[in-house]
Assembly symmetry: C2
Homo-oligomer: 138 residues x 2
DNA sequence: TATTGTTATACTCTATAACTATA
DNA sequence: TATAGTTATAGAGTATAACAATA
């Protein structure tokens, strides 16, 4: 069975690849129950303590409304905390808890393992090339 | 604001790229009201008339249950028809209508235009490299 | 007036399970 | 018993709009 025009479409290949990569990520981090979006949120807060919700949402391309629920869940799990902002009473400063910092190190180790799966799948050099080509989207 | 570990993750870049590419596809084909998944279904049926629903679903990595609704919509729009199979009364042979064939040519012209947008965004050679790297996922 | 976080709604997509009619 | 198509449901993800508190 032929795919005809789909073979020449970057979007089709990228979509299939993205599905594979997310499935592997979810499986590799299943023991800590962290999904790709959760990982991106915890990582960005860990690297930039004190950010507002609006700033995180904008940087990661997530809707503000969706981030509310993501943070609710992460806060319940004691990984993240919302601290009242000192300068703007509308906004929250986001921080990792001590437990969040500790867990993040574990998440990163597992994410690195996932990344090795990617390298095995498409080749180490191809993975590097891919990151270079798509650097403008990060 | 830094992304920390996210910068080195292929999955993050691929996800952001995929969102961009789908948005451009949807916008470029808005005049004919065709989304990426619909395009992939019509294209595969056009290139392989007579396929069963199960075969299309498996080839494109779509759930059988979801394909039912996709085909309902495409059939209502007179682009696709379900023909009773001659050999297996459980299954349908999928075909494009005459109108479907005609419309598909228009879809392909617009999809090619979208593909040029991709080439402009990441560069012609990078697009080629990307297709080569991800060929194993099609 | 505009922005922050929140709530609510709707629609798409994904993942299942179960049903029917066939094989 | 297994498979093809269908129906139904639940959970993510996306896209909006609107609201209260605050700037």
């Amino acid at each position: 069975m032929g795919l005809d025009a789909l073979v020449g479409h970057a979007g089709y290949a990228v979509r299939r690849f993205q599905l594979w990569i997310f499935q592997d990520f979810i499986k590799t981090l299943a023991a800590v129950d962290i999904r790709p979006t959760q990982y991106s949120v915890v990582t960005v807060i860990g690297a930039n303590p004190g950010l507002t919700q609006a700033a995180v949402a904008k940087r990661l391309g997530i809707e503000r409304a969706r981030l509310v629920h993501l943070l609710d869940s992460l806060e319940q799990r004691k990984l993240v905390k919302r601290v009242p902002s000192a300068t703007d009473r509308r906004s929250h400063a986001l921080h990792l808890t001590a437990q969040g910092e500790e867990q993040l190190r574990k998440f990163k180790r597992l994410a690195a393992e996932h990344e090795r799966h990617v390298a095995e799948k498409i080749g180490k050099e191809n993975r590097e090339r891919l990151l270079q080509i798509l650097a403008c989207f990060t």
